[in-house]
Symmetry: C2
Subunit: 407 residues, 2 copies
């Protein structure tokens, strides 16, 4: 295992053999080995995010001589890896978060899976992991989801969380790119991510520790973006906050592992009509400048909010409400000023795991910025977006080609 990589070299005096092209990832070759005994499925009410894994996983490996191996769907179990592997030593690891739902037709569905596949290819490229055919990976995921269909919870707000992962397996301590890898997909049935119930989450604004910076890796879904957040997260928890609101100086980047949105009443001639139904609201989130993950939920919310009300009316929002979508820098002084003026209407975090999570207050410089409260947690804009996106995910509302059936 610690032997240097063999190459397609020609032995002295041996006949010249045709060089073999490393194999591409090929879903059609998949070998399925079903578990002899299936696990009991815990009641949906007892599910904690990401703790229970399903019966099977998909595993395929890459080495620079042979390329991608035969993909396997097989019983969930441990990976055996050389202790010198790049995934341990140099964090050459990327992942994705996706979810599967059961539609009214009884068929399992994925939500905009191509977005995850494209992002995963970008992430893998950023840490110099071997490239792979994203269409083939998606075929393998769909096959795995179809096999694990019994694990998909059907309760509202529940789903099967899917975690595609690539880890570098070069087993040498020289500081260099991993020329070998294991790509695997594991699944976990899940309910709501936060266990705060209807209580909105509270954020502590943090800039002593910086999560992402220009020229850094915040724009990619890399394992390495997360480890540095745990210590500040523990500190925030000690002070009574659920998550960190990550700052770069005074600029807001992300909320915990979520993209961050605010709904603000705009300054214009009728700005004093704070709760007037004809008011113009601005649904803002920070722009993508390399410090922010290009979230699939973020992109979906942007598209849905933009479509309202001309192309599609969001649930329970009056058609007279003008919702303006903008991508702009958000700073803490702005948030404070908006809150002081009563113009900061909603704040929420979005992501695959949480979908849309209401923010209740934001600790900043020793004080709390307090958001208006709403029954059930989310305000009208956050609630409308949550309802519509989950309807699309569950296959109950058709919107473009966002919901993809696994057969």
């Amino acid at each position: 295992m610690a032997i240097s990589q063999t190459t397609n070299g020609v032995a002295n005096g041996a006949a010249v053999s045709t060089p073999v092209q490393p194999a591409e990832l090929d879903a059609s070759k998949v070998v399925v080995t079903l578990a002899q005994e299936l696990k009991p499925i815990p009641p949906a009410t007892e599910l904690k995010f990401g703790q229970v894994m399903t019966d099977h996983m998909m595993v395929v490996s890459y080495d620079p001589v042979n390329g991608w191996s035969t993909p396997e769907i097989k019983p969930y179990g441990p990976l055996a890896l050389d202790p010198a592997s790049s995934c341990f030593q140099y964090a050459t690891n990327v992942f994705e978060g996706m979810k599967a739902y059961v539609g009214p037709d009884g068929k399992p569905r994925l939500f905009r899976p191509n977005k995850n596949m494209d992002r995963m290819a970008m992430s893998a490229g950023r840490v110099a992991l071997p490239p792979f055919d994203t269409n083939e990976l998606l075929k393998l995921i769909r096959r795995l989801v179809a096999i694990e269909q019994r694990w998909i919870p059907t309760q509202k707000g529940h789903s099967l969380y899917i975690r595609p992962t690539i880890i570098g397996t070069r087993s040498s301590l020289g500081v260099a790119a991993s020329d070998s890898a294991v790509l695997y997909v594991i699944c976990s049935p899940t309910g709501p991510y936060f266990r705060t119930g209807a209580r909105p989450i509270n954020l502590l604004a943090v800039n002593e520790t910086v999560r992402a910076w220009p020229g850094g890796t915040g724009g990619y879904k890399l394992a390495l973006n997360y480890a540095p957040t745990f210590k500040p997260q523990q500190y925030a928890a000690k002070l009574g906050y659920d998550q960190c609101l990550w700052l770069l100086g005074e600029k807001i980047t992300e909320a915990g592992a979520m993209n961050f949105f605010v709904v603000v009443q705009r300054e214009d001639g009728v700005a004093e009509c704070t709760h007037h139904p004809h008011q113009t609201w601005t649904c803002s989130r920070p722009p993508l400048d390399g410090t922010i993950l290009p979230g699939v939920t973020r992109d979906s919310i942007l598209a849905l909010a933009t479509a309202h009300p001309s192309r599609m009316v969001l649930p329970n929002l009056p058609t007279s409400l003008r919702l303006h979508v903008s991508e702009r820098e958000l700073t803490m002084p702005e948030l404070s000023a908006w809150a002081a003026d009563g113009r900061l209407l909603e704040a929420f975090g979005v992501g695959t795991a949480v979908v849309v999570a209401a923010v209740g207050r934001i600790g900043y410089q020793g004080k709390d910025i307090v958001l208006p409260t709403h029954e059930g947690g989310l305000g009208p804009v956050g609630r409308a977006l949550y309802e519509r996106i989950t309807e699309i995910q569950d296959g109950k509302f058709q919107w473009e080609d966002w919901s993809v059936v696994c057969e």
Copy 2:
């Protein structure tokens, strides 16, 4: 394996048992299982850094209920880990680089190992891994090195590279600190890190990609600092450079995975006497502001250069040479200006793996800053520091308590 952590909870109706305190790391409990068959040791001339591992490794694990397990020294082999483990998903991995040498007394020695132990504890804390007793870990490393003594090469510039590693093993996908871990130590016999021979390495100054940022993790030895460097490193290699010189804007932070030093002739009354033996030279390196790893070799070079010539004379440097040590910000425009004035005398990278590596040229904004050439690569200051530090490491020169015998 995907079952949620058990706790010291009391079963209904059961007698209350005394709560068990998680065990501390205890080297005296180590269980040694020697390999049945020992590997052949490759000739020192064939060693590539970090590719061949020795016969044994040390492994000990932590869980929040039982604490640290019984440490084991056992045959080198794969680790079996849950695919949901934190080390794969969230990069909760830290490591150290140390070296063992054989002294003239035939006994294996380590170089300032407490510095590595202290830094490892700091690194583990930064990513919220479980704490451990650094003295106990050092005892285990000394024991392992004593067992692996036959693997320590005795040729000049060769040593046994030691890689203590801690990986997070919490097997849950929730984004949170790893409450479980495996700590292991592996060893690899090694010669020179760079295979450029006497040719100095060439650096490409890079600031589109930023390695470390104030408030980031550049001051800790975390696996996650390395993966983002591989893509820029491949780009530098394509342009004919060996490593990246990492910038933050125009400020220099690190060179590849090394701390960076320059030797500059100071501006003063006698500045025109460029090669006068009484000239004052400045041995500068960037200060530790959280963007720079507190290197053990860096610290040692600083101490040795400061000691010259009052407390100890560095090899082959005239006692009349005044070597002034400073910690200051270094910028690329400064380097360019010094080079244009003929005052940039030497540049070198330092670290455990390389010791001291001469820099030949630095690509910056489409041009190369070219350093003076010297026979054998290193200039007089770099050479003197290299010679003295390796004499101390090899136990041939006594200096404070830097060389520690493993018995």
